[in-house]
């Protein structure tokens, strides 16, 4: 029986709710561990011990009174720092929000509070979630617990390194083009992006409004399903929030039989550009599924070759507008240039000093994509590509129940490797972006070790609103792997902080 901190959240919840351990004890355990190990991993920008313990006491009271409001009541959680919290500075990884204490809680955070899940702290991310490595965080990169020389993925590298390093049993991420799934893949953990609109975006500091979605970062599929049950649901504060319920994900995750499941392999995401090790693990998984009675079909998604391009027009365009509010008038950093500057010059100087290079790059790219004379060619065409990608998915899902691909073309790369090559960095998202463009759910599950003995991930995509089907398939593949490996892949991870 492994150490308590390595147990899945589902078991920890069970222990707390059966009073084998109090939420306060459990929360302390993770706070202590986080305070000890965060200097190594830089997973957290902020560890909120006091408020976490208050919330834990509150959770224990809920449990004592016999009314645990959720299946995860009492289990502490880490939250990505682009979700607003009234009791903790919220920076979105940017200098421009250095000391910003929000006036309201994001809906997701309110739901965590209501569920009695103490918040351990706010996790690191690339500035405004723009990046794939956390190297664009204004507060230094997070480290991959499997190899501290390597990136934990991004933008949600703080949450992925916290969960895979057991600094938190479970965490919240946000996924605009793969920011939950890519970090999960390269840290051997599980990350799910629900259907667009399944989880409220109210209080999520917007990157690209039509692509952003909040989701779970965990060490197994059941935990992810349980966490989605906590944070999902209609929110009248978000006009794009789904009105109908998608059902109980935890229930779907119990059905883990892949027999007869029609699994589509996306031709465009199974060939060149993917490292040999990644490809090898992927082919082995296909064999594993076939042996288990799944039905493998190849599906053709020709428009995917334009996905990255469309994405890197739509995202910067929306971001350039979403980030305009950071102007030093109502909140945030204000930089005063020499002399007696006008507010226009104050704004420009503030945004120059407050934004990092990648953010500026994307704001200017987005401004270009929207500017008169270019709109139709760039933003307009990108929106049309979106339609083509949705059509590809429709066809594919007519032939298959779920689709699979490697989550990313590579394993975790070394810090600095792609820092000066934006385009190379952008290509990490090649397999994850289509789901965001189409609004469909996607999840990454561990898929064995590849290059440099680093984790690789398998992505499972399901039709919009069919998140339950995605969790069933993911649970099925996870079971096949765990049976084969004899334990979770995360249990192969090196022990942190040992010499």
């Amino acid at each position: 029986m492994s150490e308590v901190y390595k147990k899945p959240a589902s078991e920890l919840a069970h222990m707390v709710q059966n009073k084998e351990i109090s939420s306060v004890e459990l929360t302390k355990l993770f706070l202590d561990r986080s305070e000890k190990l965060n200097p190594l991993t830089n997973s957290y920008l902020q560890i909120t011990r006091e408020s976490a313990l208050e919330q834990a006491e509150n959770a224990d009271r809920m449990i004592a009174s016999g009314e645990a409001p959720s299946a995860l009541t009492g289990v502490p959680i880490a939250v990505k720092d682009n979700l607003t919290t009234t009791d903790a500075i919220t920076t979105a990884g940017s200098k421009i929000l250095e000391n910003y204490l929000p006036q309201y809680d994001s809906t997701v955070v309110s739901k965590l509070r209501a569920a009695g899940m103490p918040i351990l702290g706010k996790t690191n991310l690339d500035e405004f979630a723009m990046g794939s490595s956390t190297e664009f965080s204004a507060y230094g990169p997070s480290k991959n617990p499997w190899d501290l020389e390597r990136i934990p993925g991004g933008s949600g590298g703080g949450s992925s390194s916290a969960v895979s390093g057991f600094l938190a049993p479970i965490a919240i991420g946000s996924d605009t083009g793969g920011s939950i799934r890519f970090p999960a893949a390269v840290t051997g953990s599980v990350g799910a992006k629900p259907t667009y609109g399944a989880v409220s975006r109210y209080g999520l500091i917007a990157l690209a409004s039509s692509l952003d979605q909040v989701g779970p970062v965990t060490n197994d599929v059941t935990d992810a399903a349980m966490l989605q049950d906590v944070i999902a649901g209609h929110d009248p504060m978000d006009s794009t929030s789904l009105t109908e319920s998608l059902g109980q994900m935890a229930e779907f995750a119990k059905n883990n039989d892949v027999k007869g499941l029609r699994i589509g392999v996306i031709k465009q995401l199974a060939s060149d550009g993917f490292h040999p090790g990644i490809k090898a693990r992927f082919d082995e998984s296909i064999q594993l599924l076939t042996d288990a009675g799944a039905q493998i079909v190849e599906v053709d998604c020709p428009s995917f070759e334009y996905a990255v391009s469309a994405y890197y027009l739509i995202l910067p365009a929306e971001a350039s507008s979403n980030l305009a509010r950071f102007d030093s008038v109502r909140f945030g950093k204000r930089v005063l240039p020499e002399g007696s500057p006008t507010i226009e010059r104050v704004m420009a100087a503030t945004r120059e000093a407050g934004f990092g290079p990648e953010v500026k790059r994307r704001i200017i790219l987005g401004t270009y994509a929207l500017s008169s004379g270019y709109y139709d060619a760039y933003y307009g065409s990108a929106q049309k590509v979106r339609t083509l990608i949705q059509r590809d998915f429709e066809k594919a899902f007519a032939a298959a129940d779920v689709l699979i691909s490697p989550t990313a073309p590579t394993t975790a790369f070394k810090f600095g490797e792609k820092l000066d090559d934006p385009l190379a960095m952008y290509l990490n998202d090649i397999a994850t972006i289509p789901a965001n463009l189409a609004g469909i759910p996607g999840i990454s599950v561990p898929n064995g070790l590849a290059e440099n003995d680093m984790p690789s991930g398998l992505q499972i995509l399901a039709p919009a609103m069919k998140d339950g089907l995605m969790y069933s398939a993911a649970a099925g593949i996870e079971k096949l792997h765990n049976d084969q490996w004899g334990k979770r892949m995360i249990d192969f991870a090196p022990e942190l902080g040992v010499n």
Binding site: Y100, L101, Q103, S210, L211, P236, S239, T240, L242, Y306, S309, A310, Y312, L313, S320, A324, D327, S328, V329, R330, F331, G332, K333, R334, P337, S340, T342, I343, E344, R345, V346, M347, A348, A349, R351, E352, K360, R361, I363, I364, L365, T367, Y368, S371, Y378, G380, S381, A382, Q383, K384, V385, R386, T387, L388, Q390, P422, L423, G439, I440, A464
Partner: protein
Amino acid sequence: MSEITPENVRHLASLARILVTDEEVEKLAKELDVIVESVAQVKSAVSEDTPATSHPIPMANVYREDEVKPSLSQQQALSNAPDQAEGKFKVNAILDEE
């Protein structure tokens, strides 16, 4: 031929209210030119009659009842203000555009 000139970058930066040094302008122009050249392929992917998708999950007519909800207090509203006076947000003089 390069799509993004330093002049473009200067104009775009002013539209986006970002101060840029000459070095930054040169660097950004080069980087963006590469990116734009690559993403420009979307043009060839679509045709006139391809409908645009601006929202991944089609929805319409999402409205709120016209009922007053509590607002922030003035103190809450100003709690993050870099500068304030008389219950208002204080800003430097505005470039005279009149």
